[in-house]
């Protein structure tokens, strides 16, 4: 009996590596610490009422960003472990299997649990404010999206200490990811954790598409929308049409592994290449799901700190539309070398190169926006300015990779790894850091410290180049990705050492940013005006942080850069007539999203271990929550006029 318990525990928990035991201990300690602090300060009720059950888009946005920052920390630790292993030849810091797990979780976490939720967080905070709305179209669904992402991420991360991590790369290629070559629960964690959070992403796409199409303030036609809102509108369309394909791909592989189907096995007629097609049919649009929103952020930030209206507004919009269409017809360039016919490779080669045109147009428009502007070098502006050249390098090497015959040389080398880090770090990561500093006062009512912000920017940006510029050359020298060690004498060692120094520098830059967040929380400059940057768009027209209802009066929009126009009108002495306040109708908080997602987590955990006694009741719980929701009719309340007046008076906005 005791022996069987022991052997179960030995199989259930990941054992044998001192680093894992350290992680076990730290996870346990942090969990105990959180519970103890919440209990000691009697904060459980506060946590439940103010955060876990909230449907307020601003709070949901903050929760997305906190979760994404934590995941960024974990993904970054994975990266540092890989760099530590590769610094010198013949290292034994990680063994081959452990290294495979680390690069798999690094990629999956960075794309699915950092980039997407960070962007979802920023768009939750900014988009409803930018269009002058009081919330998103479906506040309940919005909360559900967040909790699905959160529990999906938790399930995926659990693999690290319980059962074992996935090790087939973030793209989880068949047949290696199949049951035959990859027994155990690791791949199940990947498939089900990502699936749960992907359902949330699809719901977010639908939610923001409808919000932007239907809930803009009066007068705000599509072509008067802020550019960030435009980028989210287009991104939402991509999400709606790309994510279902991924849902299917993940489900098919899950069915392969759990129920013995043959979609992607070689035996019994399955097609491993079908996986590559389905994965990248989502995977390439996914690249633009995490890039277009940061294009939007940079457009806002560059216009704000150049103190000019954005150059070429309509062209900016149409180039994003062009990118979104092209993003669906380039997926095959991820596997040029997999044995397609020449005409097929030629088609995808050309469609890929075409994307450089609208992207290049955007780069020039940002440059022309800067031209003759009064440029103010704030922290968000520094991130935006650094983006332009660094991202362009990623774009140009992308065109090199797009040439199918040449790709046979670059494929799966560090040249490719350097390329996609140039786009994803210099694009997405710079963008989310830029947006974080830019909208931070709107989220919390105080600024992040500029001096520390600039230090963290310079350290991170320079280290990024130290890490990834040499990587291109390393790739051309023949080092391939995903190799866990290499022999001495190939000439790779000096470059690897330099890259590891760069990686450590990025870690320091990020740590400094984390320190800045903590420091500013205590001593940060308060933003009493609601408009610390002299902003141009509507989110700056309301208080920082915005009241629950966002705007006491829904603004009327007459032109682009609506808030800049309002400020000009005010300066010119045009009196505004302010109608009396009205009671404001708002959605109620609800516990159903978090409970439903917790059931999803239970179901997911059951299916990971093929424990159907646990998985099926979990799913029944999910359906029960859906039914319970359907019967809720009393889901809104009014904020009385008095309360609105009090809130407005507290921020000095009573007119």
């Amino acid at each position: 009996m005791i022996d069987s318990v022991k052997s179960f525990l030995g199989w259930f928990f990941v054992t044998g590596d001192p680093m894992i035991y350290g992680a076990d201990a730290s996870i346990a300690l942090v969990s105990i610490g959180i519970v103890a602090v919440l209990t000691y300060f009697k904060k459980w009720k506060w946590l439940w009422n103010e955060w876990l059950t909230t449907v307020d888009h601003k709070k949901i946005g903050i929760m997305y960003i906190i979760a994404a920052l934590l995941m960024l920390f974990r993904g970054g630790m994975d990266a540092l472990m890989m760099r530590a292993q590769l610094t010198l030849p013949n290292m034994h810091f990680l063994d081959a299997e452990h290294y495979n797990q680390v690069f798999t979780t690094h990629g999956t976490i960075m794309i699915i649990f950092v980039a997407m939720p960070f962007i979802f967080g920023l768009m939750n905070i900014a988009v409803p404010l930018q269009i002058g709305a009081r919330d998103v179209a479906y506040p309940f669904l919005n909360a559900l999206s967040f909790w699905l992402f959160f529990f999906g991420a938790m399930l995926f991360n659990l693999s690290f200490v319980i059962g074992g991590s996935p090790d087939a790369g973030w793209s989880s290629y068949a047949p290696y990811a199949g049951a035959e070559m990859n027994p155990g629960v690791g791949q199940n964690y990947y498939l089900i954790g990502v699936q749960i959070s992907g359902i949330g992403s699809l719901a977010t796409g639908i939610n923001f598409l409808v919000t932007i199409l239907k809930m803009r303030a009066p007068g705000m036609t599509l072509f008067k929308m802020p550019m960030f809102t435009w980028s989210i509108l287009i991104t939402s369309v991509i999400v709606v049409f790309a994510f279902p394909a991924f849902t299917v791909a993940l489900a098919l592989m899950t069915i392969d592994r759990l129920f013995g189907a043959h979609f992607f096995t070689i035996a019994a007629g399955g097609s491993p290449m079908l996986w590559a097609n389905l994965f990248w049919f989502w995977g390439h649009p996914e690249v633009y799901i995490v890039l277009l929103p940061v294009f939007g952020i940079f457009s806002e930030v560059i216009a704000t700190f150049a103190h000019k209206t954005l150059f070429g507004y309509a062209v900016m919009v149409w180039s994003m539309v062009a990118i979104s269409v092209l993003s669906f017809i380039t997926w095959l360039h991820h596997f040029f070398t997999m044995g397609n016919t020449a005409p097929v490779n030629a088609f995808f080669s050309i469609s890929t190169m075409l994307i450089a045109i609208p992207t290049g147009v955007k780069i020039f428009n940002w440059l022309f926006t800067l031209n003759k502007g009064r440029i103010q070098f704030t922290t968000p502006m520094l991130w935006a300015l650094a983006f332009i050249p660094n991202f362009t390098i990623g774009g140009v090497t992308g065109v090199m990779l797009a040439m199918a015959p040449a790709d046979y040389q670059y494929h799966n080398s560090y040249f490719l790894v350097a390329h996609f880090h140039s786009t994803l770090i210099a694009g997405t990561v710079f963008g989310i850091f830029c947006g974080l500093h830019y909208w931070w006062p709107k989220m919390f009512g105080y600024m992040l410290d500029e001096v520390k912000g600039k230090w963290s920017f310079w350290i991170f940006m320079i280290s990024f180049n130290i890490c990834f510029m040499p990587m291109y050359f390393l790739g051309l020298m023949g080092m391939t990705r995903r190799m866990y060690t290499y022999p001495a004498g190939l000439g790779w060692t000096p470059i690897n050492v330099v890259m590891s120094i760069g990686a450590a520098g990025m870690g320091i830059g990020f740590a400094l940013m984390a320190y800045n967040i903590v420091w500013s929380a205590v001593r940060g400059k308060k933003d009493t005006t609601g408009d610390p940057w002299n902003g141009r768009t509507l989110e700056w027209a309301t208080a920082s942080p915005a009241a629950e209802y966002n705007f006491a009066h829904i603004p009327e929009i007459k032109s682009r850069d609506a808030f800049a126009a309002m400020k000009e009108a005010r300066a010119a002495g045009h009196a505004e007539t302010v109608p009396p306040y009205k009671a404001i109708h708002m959605p109620n908080n609800t516990g159903i999203p978090v409970i439903m997602s917790a059931f999803m987590f239970i179901a997911g955990f059951g299916f990971v271990f093929e424990w159907y006694w646990m998985g099926i009741p979990g799913l029944i719980g999910v359906v029960a929550c859906m039914i319970a929701r359907s019967f809720v009719y009393d889901d809104h309340h009014y904020i009385p006029v008095e309360k609105v007046k009090q809130t407005e008076a507290a921020t000095g906005r009573l007119s």
């Binding site: 179209a137 199409l213 299917v248 979609f263 097609s271 079908l274 109708h585 359906v623 359907s630």
Partner: protein, 209 residues
């Protein structure tokens, strides 16, 4: 969310059908159309997968060996008729006839249940009697998952409509219940359209090829 929250575009809704008579109803219906667009991609991916794998029978039974015209026609007719009765329910909804609406929705889900029963029987026949379960070949994996996904959607639709029937019984036809009944109708017709594609892409090509 009925009035001041979201109502940014003042619109005269007095002439509109009851399900569109509030801002919230309008928003939800638009969102549901977009959800259906996403479902279209989901089924499109499954169809693509099935068509790729259709000939990959790995020496096992082929489409021609398995498919029988009788049960398939029965499923098709039952589902198409249910779509018709679902349409009748929407007409009764527009006429504010609660009894008619509930009656036709009941007929619709009964037909839905018959369809699911026939489909389960078809699956059982293949998997147990014909030795053609999902794990036999890639073709059968594609077949069972495509049709199974559709069948799960129909089953979930039945549960959903039962919930709406209970609410209709309790509250009558209000803007909220009307919106729910209307959306369930959209969903049901969508599943019918998917079935037409299944009939064509799976069964017809299966008999011919």
């Amino acid at each position: 969310m009925t009035d001041a929250t979201l109502s940014l575009h003042e619109k005269d809704r007095s002439q509109m059908p009851i399900e569109y008579s509030t801002e919230e109803g309008d928003l939800r219906i638009v969102g549901f159309w977009i959800f259906l667009a996403a479902e279209l991609v989901l089924f499109g991916t499954l169809f693509g997968t099935y068509l790729v794998l259709q000939s990959h029978t790995a020496g096992g039974p082929t489409a021609k060996d398995l498919f029988e015209i009788g049960p398939v026609m029965a499923e098709t007719i039952v589902l198409l008729v249910s779509s018709f009765t679902c349409g009748l329910s929407t007409i009764e909804l527009r006429r504010h006839n609660k009894r008619g609406l509930i009656g036709w929705l009941l007929v619709t889900i009964l037909l839905g249940l018959v369809f699911v029963g026939l489909e389960v029987n078809e699956f059982y026949t293949y998997a147990v009697h014909e030795g053609a379960p999902l794990s036999r070949s890639a073709f059968l994996s594609g077949f069972f998952v495509l049709l199974g996904t559709h069948g799960c959607h129909v089953s979930l639709g039945i549960v959903w409509i039962i919930g709406i029937l209970l609410q209709l019984g309790k509250r009558g036809i209000t803007p909220v219940t009307a919106r729910k009944a209307f959306m369930a109708g959209l969903y049901w017709h969508f599943l019918d359209v998917v079935w037409i594609f299944i009939f064509t892409a799976v069964y017809l090509t299966g008999w011919v090829i």
